[in-house]
Amino acid sequence: MSLGTPEHDIAEPAREHSRRRFLTFLVAAPTLAVAARIGADGLAPASAQAAVPSLPAPAEILDLGDALILAAAPTANLIVVTVDETGRVGLALPRAEVGQGITTAVGMLIADELDVGLDQVDVTLADARPELVFNQLTGGSNTIRSVYGPVRAAAAQARARLLAAAAARWGTAPSVLSVSAGVVTGPGGRSATYGELSAAAADPGLSVVLATPKPPSAATLVGTPTNRVDARRMVTGQMEYTLDLDVVPGALPTMVRRPPTINGTVRSVQNEAAVRAMPGVVDVVTVATGVAVLAETFGQALAGKEALEVTWGPGTVDGESNATIQQKLRAATLPFVVPPLLTTTVDAEFDFAMVSHAPMETNSAIADVRRDRAEIWSGLKSPIVAQQTIAAELGLPQSAVTVHVTQGGGSFGRRLFFDAALEAARISKAAGKPVKLMWSRIDDMRHGRARAASFHRIRATVAAGQVLTFEHRVASGETDTKHGLGEILTAVAASLPVGGNLSFAQTIFLTTVHSPYQLGATTHLLNEVPLQMHTGSWRSVYSANTRGAEEVLIDEIAAKLGKDPVTFRREFLKSDRFRAVLEKVVTEGQWGRSMPRGTAQGIAFHAEYKSCTACLVEVDATDPRAPRVTRATIAADVGRVINPRGLESQLIGGLTDAIGTTFRAGLHIDAGLPLEGSYSQFHYTRQAESPLRTSVFVVPSDGEPGGAGELGVPAAVGAVANAYARATGTKPRSFPINFPVDFDPFPR
């Protein structure tokens, strides 16, 4: 309902639909929620420790998630809960589900607020809704943080309308009614289902007061470990990812032959006629990114595209390799600002290779482009920007392009980019046919997105048992944020706690990265090197590398001061909230227990997204070239937890990412192209490399929910690297640690 004043609401009649629904819109709560949270963590009273205090960093005052919430606030009241005549409750969520369990968690919020079972709630993924402006981007571990207020408010108002309708029907006051499992019960044993009340509840003339969401103490489902609502479809093969959809009759399986170097161009195709004559091949068209083969099956499209003989123009990074990129990053690293002190310093430099997102479902989209309209299906985390871009590309008004968001087979940041949807639209237009576009795995790793390489220079000065200064300079390949995030930051620029002429990247860096320790004068600076490669935010963006490297250095500073890694962290962490999480893994993970030679424990801590986590792992590095994390203990405080079981999944996923990228998984850029083309070459963690024992502990907390989706990575990177360092007696400086080209690359 569009709320003119807080005393009134207006139900809107449902748009055309097979069943009558009533709709309720709500309210500008999240702005208040943000304001209440500003500074809550970093400015908590420091307990009586001897550490030299640090000034709050920008990210401790207002972080990237706050910026996303602020940008979404003006349209938060466009989030709509529906109740239909069968009593089913629905919400078309303007976010992407890519495995993070968000439809389950949001369903739990709605179920609790409306007093219905989770099985009565349908959370679907909204099409691109341009009227939402900045409120349809999935990233920054921000979905729960940004929808927690609006979804609960909308559901609470829906409940109030249903109770008002029942009260009117029975001539009683709403306050004497009760609800259970979607059935309203009143005096004298009268009862009515939500379905029976939905039409009356939709009457704009109904008098309803503004409802407020229930307090956490009234929760029945929220906070309880709950299994995924979509799991049964997944384990029976019924879950439909983009290319499983049968939505456009005659849409042709399509694959693209891509250039031998990143951003290479098509000059000419030598054997188009021969490829057109291959079995099953229907059409061959050239687009900006390569040569597309449309066929009856993907197998035939793949055979066709591999048979193509193409003359290519140069790409944009043909002269680059890992070594040249590393040199450029070192040269671009900004200087430290603290003048040299007559004290001991702890210095280190770290290199991190590029890392593919490599979601299991490769880049894919369905496109049906007609003369006057287009329809797109793809797993999209920024569907509005996709719609705008595709419309401009096709020369159509934005309103003529319908963009459907499908459930994605993993993302890790990848699906912020809509390059498959754009490419599919171009191919469909060029061929005059609907297409189902699938990228090959090789192309997905070589021409897809990746985390940019980064170089880190860190210096701490220590004296008299204290850390006086801590400076960290990061040089990174440019991370592409042209998926709407830059516009969001521009829109909320006045609210950001960073000033000056910062780039989007520097703004993101400073609103995400901060040290959780009191390390005296602390400075963080990022400089990005423009390399025209396909990069993108990778789970935890800058933090995996930046904070991972810092956690390695924390162990080395502790050693310099003669302190145990846990003792140091205990003394220098900024808050008791942080210490509680650390102590949980120390206890549960048995820190300090005797370990055989060649094995060791490692520990690390990370705070971001208004949440914090500690990770303690045990590594067997008896063979330093084939280390294994044998046991992992993780604790997290994420504020109010919606679904502890989903939180555990996210933290386990972050740990698995950290194991892979710390030990073996990265990309070798060679003459303008990654050598890696499959999981036999890009060594993401497999079962044989995952811990035999993993324990996750949720530290009880209250307040607004923090973010969790990316939280687990940075601490686990630090813990795994620190355990390896202690097991082998080495100082890890280059990641992945074991990174030979141990394969024969596929042809270009």
Binding site: M234, E296, M360, R441, R686, Q687
Partner: protein, 156 residues
């Protein structure tokens, strides 16, 4: 194009396909059976893992001609190999639900089919047996996969 007839999830099907067309595409693009997923096409990621005469195969590298006259089971037909009750799942699927294994879910049909094949070879798999499953889970759900396999083994 030649026709190939085989048993697919308990039913006889005939598909018109080139002999060397990988079975994955005969299943997905010609028969509309989309449970087996493409993840690499070269028998590396194992996302398409299905069963041929009860043993694990990877349809992305299995020529369609090779399955003529044989019995192919995909994730869609797994429950039917266990029970005639259409509402009943295979115990491995049930274990996957109990442990809430799936995150994005894309690899899980292949993970489940690999686990069932393992349990057919050895009813009480060791950690080393489970480690030998090479199916990639990019979401990193391995610890729950391990727990689910052990739970299913105990139940079966």
């Amino acid at each position: 194009m030649p026709n190939y007839t085989f048993q697919l999830n308990g039913e006889t099907v005939t598909v018109d396909a080139p002999a060397d067309l990988p079975l994955l595409w005969a299943l997905r693009d010609k028969l509309g059976v989309t449970g087996p997923k493409y993840g690499c096409g070269i028998d590396v990621c194992k996302a398409c893992t299905s069963h041929l005469d009860g043993a694990a195969i990877n349809p992305c590298v299995t020529p369609t001609a090779d399955v003529a006259g044989r019995e192919v089971t995909t994730i869609e037909g797994l429950a039917g190999t266990w029970s005639d009750d259409p509402d009943e799942l295979h115990p491995v699927q049930e274990a996957w639900l109990e442990r809430d294994v799936a995150q994005c879910g894309y690899c899980q049909p292949g993970q489940i089919m690999a686990a069932v094949a393992l349990l057919r070879r050895t009813s009480n798999p060791t950690d080393a047996d489970i480690d030998a499953i090479e199916n990639v889970c990019r979401c990193g759900s391995y610890s729950r996969i391990r727990e689910a396999i052990k739970a299913a083994a105990a139940r079966m």
